[in-house]
């Protein structure tokens, strides 16, 4: 991606060898958009909860926390409708590494 990256998180990301679980994803989502029930919401795109800026920001966070490369072909509505869908994408990208 060509977008500028935000400052690295305080945790030393290099030290993690296991893929973080979905709870990490949910806490990223919650800090991005407080007040949304990401555990249960299944229509994040159709209900306009996440917009284009959120998706860009989220993709950067995902790359940083999960050490996967989010390719443009993955940026489709189906992959972002729910936390589960997003995490499934992460698992796919992780397997492809």
């Amino acid at each position: 991606m060509l977008f500028h990256k935000k400052e690295a998180s305080s945790k030393n990301a290099e030290a993690e060898t296991e893929l973080p679980g979905i709870s990490r994803l949910i806490s990223i989502l919650e800090s991005m958009k407080p007040g949304v029930d990401f555990t249960n919401e299944i229509s994040l795109i159709d209900s306009h909860i996440l917009d284009s800026v959120d998706i860009m920001s989220l993709a950067m966070d995902i790359e940083e926390h999960f050490h996967v490369e989010v390719t443009p072909l993955e940026i489709v509505p189906e992959n972002f409708q729910s936390a589960n869908a997003i995490y499934e994408m992460i698992l796919r990208l992780n397997a492809a590494r």
Binding site: M1, L2, F3, H4, K6, I45, H48, L50, D51, S52, V53, I55, M56, P72, L73, I75, V76, P77
Partner: protein, 502 residues
């Protein structure tokens, strides 16, 4: 020509079956568009709202386009508004406007409910099949003149009250002539519209198309988050001309989406609304080396655009893309603070004169008089110029360069935002002592600094009730005390410096 509807009638006469507007839902030919508009206009005749505003609260669609022309057929002028806008802001606008009616649709009913509007409400579904009253419509038309208002668009106001820029038929006719002539728009042109219909950039797409008998694809908004899908849609709709904000163009190149999807038919790429990052322009040009690129510049108050620059050379990172030269039939002046013309290369405020100028701000003579003033270089007869508030200068090649703003208006993702409007919204909270908003252009962060014992949650909630989503600050900073300068005013420069230090 004295009325923009003549453009529609002309196009419908020349090529009735040609596609006028299309979206995911349906395709509308020029003849159908004409018929729907006349039906809607006929239904609205009973309002007797000639030269009065009718608000449109509809999502972007071919239906909304018919609504716009329908209102014009009834002799009124249209005010397209974002149905997602907080009710509080809609009410503010209604108090300024006193609309003669609201034209909406069933899917927007929920946005209507919280409003205190007691006037007539029309649903598109109910009136689109009204039998055309050609006699009534032509009577109204016979009374219309080219300086009658065609639409008003509301923009952010620095004191908290949005400003409604009123544009007349004559301006749109002059502007659309420039668009079609300069960019060689014809019946083969297929526009891929990105701008919401309540933003002035949509005027180029709609009236440029009408002037030349082109087709306009209303690209679904959600696709602008998904660059691969967006390009696939452009390809399948055979879009060959786009006029987008740079943020939308950067989305595509930022994700390298053009590596995944080819769009060989896309030949004209126009952009406006914010500074175009050179890196992304160069990427677009490398993917589409034979395409035509142009940087357009102008505020809502001059219909849409007053200057343009055709990209004909390579730019290095750090260079700025010029805003070019005046549009044909549009006058530009660069004036110093003293009201005289700037010397070559000298910085000054860009002022515009001519038919592209809006009539003023609806029901706001004070703000209108501040922005639309007598041309100081003309002491001989009344001639208005619009002061853009943008600082510019000419470069050695005689091209205009944008330097910055005189005030605290910013552009974020192409949206025009008065930082003062955000501050005014925060100030409505009793416990806010004072606040200041700055814009971190590098990261695209809107930062609000505030003094006062307020829960962050309560502040966020109050702001979301008053401001559209794109104006909501991404970061809130509570300070015990905001820095003040010698005049007693909040020292925004100090805030910015402290923020940048981290």
């Amino acid at each position: 020509m004295k009325n923009v509807l003549e453009l529609l009638e002309q196009a419908a006469k020349q090529a009735p079956r040609h596609t006028a507007f299309f979206d995911e839902e349906r395709t509308v030919s020029y003849r159908s568009l004409l018929q729907e508009s006349q039906a809607i206009g006929s239904a609205l005749l009973s309002l007797s709202a000639e030269r009065k505003p009718v608000v449109i609260l509809m999502d972007k669609s071919t239906r909304c386009i018919s609504a716009m022309f329908g209102i014009l057929y009834s002799g009124a002028f249209y005010v397209v508004m974002d149905p997602d806008m907080p009710a509080d802001r809609i009410e503010k606008i209604f108090r300024i406007l006193s609309p003669a009616a609201i034209l909406t649709e069933q899917s927007c009913k929920e946005h209507l409910e919280p409003l205190a509007f007691t006037g007539p409400v029309y649903f598109y579904e109910d009136i689109v099949d009204t039998p055309a009253d050609h006699q009534g419509l032509s009577t109204v038309r016979s009374r219309s003149i080219d300086t009658d208002a065609a639409y008003a668009l509301f923009t952010s106001g620095s004191t908290g009250l949005p400003k409604g820029t009123v544009v007349c038929h004559r301006s749109i006719l002059a502007y659309s002539q420039w668009v079609a002539g300069t960019f060689h728009i014809d019946s083969e042109t297929i526009f891929g519209n990105q701008a919401p219909l309540y933003f002035s950039m949509s005027v180029l797409d709609i009236y440029g198309a009408l002037r030349a008998g082109s087709s306009v694809c209303l690209i679904p908004r959600k696709l602008f988050a998904f660059p691969v899908r967006l390009l696939e849609y452009i390809r399948s709709c055979h879009i060959n001309t786009i006029y987008w904000v740079p943020s939308a163009l950067c989305l595509v190149t930022g994700w390298k989406a053009l590596d995944c999807v080819q769009v060989p038919e896309l030949r004209k790429i126009l952009f406006a609304g914010e500074v175009m990052p050179v890196k992304h322009l160069n990427l677009w040009r490398s993917y589409l080396p034979d395409a035509y690129f142009a940087n357009l510049y102008g505020p809502t108050e001059v219909t849409d655009i007053c200057s343009f620059y055709e990209v004909n050379r390579y730019f290095n990172d750090g260079e700025s893309i010029p805003i070019g030269r005046a549009c044909d039939n549009c006058g530009l002046l660069v004036l110093t603070d003293k009201g005289r013309e700037a010397a070559p290369g000298e910085e000054g405020e860009l002022c515009v004169r001519g038919s592209f100028l809006a009539m003023g701000y609806y029901n706001d003579p004070e703000k209108t008089a501040k922005a639309f003033v007598q041309n100081p270089l003309n002491p001989y007869y009344p001639e208005l110029i619009y002061k853009t508030g943008d600082l510019v200068r000419y470069n050695e090649r005689g091209e205009l360069l944008y330097i910055g703003r005189k005030d605290s208006q910013i552009k974020r993702m192409g949206y025009r935002i008065e930082l003062g409007e955000i501050e005014a919204a925060a100030d409505t909270l009793r416990d806010i002592k004072c606040c200041a908003c700055i814009y971190d252009e590098k990261n695209g962060d809107l930062c609000l600094f505030y003094e006062g014992r307020v829960e962050e949650e309560a502040l966020r909630h109050a702001l979301s009730k008053r401001l559209p989503r794109y104006m909501l600050p991404s970061r809130l900073f509570h300070l015990k005390c905001l820095p003040h300068n010698a005049n007693g005013k909040i020292d925004r420069l100090a805030l910015r410096r402290a923020y940048q230090k981290g």
